[in-house]
């Protein structure tokens, strides 16, 4: 164990070697655990802000007619809900997990570039303030949808420029985070931790980080061209000057489609850690999981135009993107089958992390199937920009990414805080969220099939009942997340609850369970000696 423990542990509070305390500890943070904690708290705060915007949308849609917001503000709500959830909540949450878990899982002392790590976190604060603050700028927040399609963006007020600047900063932060993750994984693994012995969470993040580096500059290009169209007289996308609004969509979705895998691949990694632990059986098909993840990442670059069937592309284009998109179902299916084969003939128990993981499998797969249905160009043309699409991407992003994040918090939270969460509360959070999620989003499939377009502040009377049901569900779902923070997260952060053992889960495997709970400030300061499977520290 000596290699595991904090070298300074025996003279605790050694101020000479010590770290800054108080606010300096956080502002000047270079410790991966502190930075990971900040990322997680930041993303939860953004989840709450984005959630409040979503409840604004749902409140307005509770009944036909405009009761609370005017249509312009409604468009601002949908736009900012999307931007904040994607760039503020889901992406940073996974970076938080990466910061906490990757060094612990590969037996590294810290992230490779500790100061850059600090910068990539703190850059997000001004960006988030600018995004959230854009509501108070003249003309209000951007209202062109989170996809920021030209030429509608050219009609927006100054807040559009603020949003573009914020996205530039967030993109820079993501790229720095990705470089850090790649370098850490490729260079700082403990001896014996070969790539093909690495936990899948590290694998999925390694691939995700490459995706981020490949596509964030593409987004930066698209929004920079939007900026110069707005202010410097260029006409990249402005049809009045001979520009091409469809080109914007091509560039945006060349970023946007890999982006959806950026938000789901690390979730696959989390679930791949949890299911074997609670099935008490090794992960089925480890190698094929790695290859499937890589295949999904590669395919994600050649399917972007399935978001654009209704722009009127040539028939060969539609056919190519249709078939390419359907192929993604193959590696994704392999993953689902592998997880179920892992559960098969195991010895399962259903603590909260496992419940979230099984919930993820079940509900995310529904989103996967609606994705397969949408990939068929003729059906998509009927359903494009309707609530069916809204239902689809919330099934994969909420029931996919967010559920996996919750699973991970319950799974690794005891390691982070040294406190076990309350199992009953975890179950209430899970079942409440699962039920309210489906009440919110399942009726949207029907609304979409019936042709209700998305981003509508008001709608024909025939859609009223399902909208009312969805609104009730949304408020319930929102309340469950407040419950989660107050009754699960806060007690763990305050140290209230049963002390967590070093390895709270009987069959969990990996180096993170070789260090005490809570994980000391410094771990693996000298590279540990590992067993043959690279799951345990020996000597």
């Amino acid at each position: 164990m000596s290699a595991v423990l904090d070298h300074h542990g025996h003279h605790a509070d050694d101020h000479d070697h010590g770290h800054p305390h108080g606010w300096r500890r956080w502002l000047f943070a270079t410790n991966h655990k502190d930075i990971g904690t900040m990322y997680l708290l930041f993303s939860f705060a953004m989840l709450m802000i984005g959630g409040i915007l979503a409840l604004g949308i749902r409140a307005e849609l509770f009944q036909p007619g405009l009761q609370y917001v005017n249509p312009q503000l409604f468009n601002q709500l949908t736009t900012m809900h999307g931007l904040i959830m994607v760039f503020g909540a889901i992406m940073p949450a996974f970076v938080g997990f990466a910061n906490w878990m990757i060094p612990l899982q590969i037996g590294a002392a810290d992230m490779a570039f500790a100061r850059m790590n600090n910068l990539s976190f703190w850059l997000m604060i001004p960006a988030a303030l600018m995004l959230a603050g854009s509501f108070f700028m003249p003309g209000g927040a951007p209202a062109a949808g989170w996809t920021l399609y030209a030429p509608l963006t050219l009609q927006m007020g100054p807040s559009m420029d603020a949003a573009i600047f914020a996205l530039h900063i967030l993109g820079a932060s993501s790229i720095m985070g990705s470089i850090n993750i790649i370098v850490t994984i490729l260079n700082m693994r403990a001896p014996g931790m070969t790539l093909m012995k690495m936990p899948l969470f590290c694998w999925t993040w390694l691939i995700t980080a490459y995706l981020l580096i490949a596509v964030m500059p593409v987004l930066a290009g698209a929004i920079t061209m939007t900026l110069t169209d707005r202010h410097f007289g260029t006409s990249f996308f402005n049809p009045a000057g001979g520009g091409d609004p469809v080109m914007y969509q091509h560039i945006f979705w060349f970023f946007g489609h890999p982006e959806v895998y950026i938000m789901i691949l690390p979730a696959f990694g989390i679930v791949s850690a949890i299911i074997p632990a609670f099935a008490r059986k090794p992960l089925f098909g480890y190698a094929s999981m790695v290859y499937a993840t890589a295949s999904i990442a590669i395919l994600s670059f050649i399917v972007w135009a399935h978001h654009m069937y209704t722009t009127g592309m040539p028939v060969t284009g539609q056919l190519f993107f249709m078939y390419a998109t359907m192929l993604i179902a193959v590696p994704t299916g392999v993953k689902i089958f592998n997880w179920i084969a892992t559960m098969w003939r195991g010895s399962m128990t259903f603590e909260t992390p496992m419940l979230w993981s099984v919930g993820f499998l079940f509900v995310f797969t529904m989103g996967g199937f609606t994705g397969l249905i949408l990939s068929m160009a003729p059906i998509d043309i009927n359903l494009q920009d309707t609530y069916y699409v809204v239902a689809h991407f919330h099934y994969v992003l909420v029931a996919g990414s967010l559920y996996a994040l919750f699973a991970g918090v319950y799974f690794w939270g005891p390691k982070w805080t040294g406190v076990m969460y309350n199992e009953t509360r975890g179950k209430i959070h899970f079942w409440g969220s699962l039920i309210f999620f489906n009440i919110t989003f399942f009726p949207m499939h029907f609304l979409g099939l019936a042709g209700m377009p998305r981003r509508y502040a008001d709608y024909p009377m025939q859609f009223a009942d399902f909208n009312a049901v969805a609104t009730v569900g949304a408020f319930g779902f929102g309340l469950m997340q407040v419950y989660f923070f107050v009754y699960v997260v806060l007690p763990m952060m305050r140290g209230q609850g049963e002390p967590a053992p070093q390895k709270p889960w009987e069959a969990a495997e990996g180096l993170e369970w070789e260090v005490p709970s809570p994980a000391p400030w410094h771990t693996f300061e000298t590279p540990p000696k590992l067993n043959a499977a690279a799951t345990k520290v020996v000597g």
Binding site: P282, G312, L372
Partner: protein
Amino acid sequence: MNKTQSRPAKPVWQTMKNAALAFGLAAQAGLAAAAVKDLPGGPAVNQLDMHPPATAIAANIHWLHYAVMGICVVIFVGVFGVMFYSILKHRKSVGHKPANFHESVGVEIAWTVIPFIIVIAMGAMATRTVVAMKDTSNADLTIKATGYQWKWGYDYLKGEGEGISFVSTLDNTHRVMSDSGKPEAIDNYLLKVDNPLVVPVDRKIRIITTANDVIHAWMVPAFGVKQDAIPGFVRDTWFRAEKTGDFYGQCAELCGKEHAYMPIHVKVLSAPDYAKWVDAQKKALAAKADDPSKVWNLPDLVARGAKVYAANCVACHQAGGKAVGPIKALDGSAIVQDADKSKQIAILLNGAANGAMPAWKQLSDTEIAAVITYTKNQWSNQTGQIVQPADIVAARK
């Protein structure tokens, strides 16, 4: 497509619908919507499925959707049947001991190859429809649909009715009801327009889409048609309606503030009825055609301008002409009151503020002259100035 495929099984549909309705009602304790009836050609109350198809393409899409939906449900039930069986039987609480297998190349290959074959088969089912949807050749009637913020303009370009041209706008009483927050429970709420698009039944109609300002999308679910209308570009789609009646759709691409208020209403008429309609339109057009060289007096032109304002301007500028958010005030505006009328004429012809104020050059010379004269003599702008149609003719050159 044969008829059994394109029609949902009635009893199941009805039971599900009733169940959903009961659920909805329980959730909202008898909202006014309960009084709303299905809108034929538009949405039905608590509709669970796509619209009943009115074209062969829509019937194809309908059938394709059932087919892939069926495949997905079978796979879903199969896969998760296995998972739930495992969850019930392979749990620690019933004393199941864990096996230790974690690899099987044969199984991995099987569940890669079989899904591959299934998705390729699904793609093959859709391919013919994709090709058919893109075939806009040999149309009987070609109509250009132009998206404006926030209305649709229709120009009959080729075929019976060539030369007919009109703008289709949401009935303003619906817009007012929406703002009131308590719309009446009417069947075509937000779908009623002043001038529906009229087409003949059983003819191939080619719709050419474009837009004046931002991207819009022209959609009619019952026809299986949705095509973006993109400024600076022309795109096309087509349909051949197999039954007469009214069909409804809405703009499907976010186009700004009034995105939810630019519906599409297509009236499909029998061939003789359509011929009659074309005839009436042509006569009305001839009668309405204004002579741009006519010299008007002030009260007549202001009265005409009030109508043009109500039809085209009131959505943004409001009846009072006051500033609203980014919308500039007309009441008290220096440009409106300016004795140099050329500035205001230029804005109407070319638009302003990067298209936030669209160009209105599609209006007639008399209409533009009338609406400018109206704004110059309305509210506090009692300038007494008059702009004649001839001024617009000159400015257009």
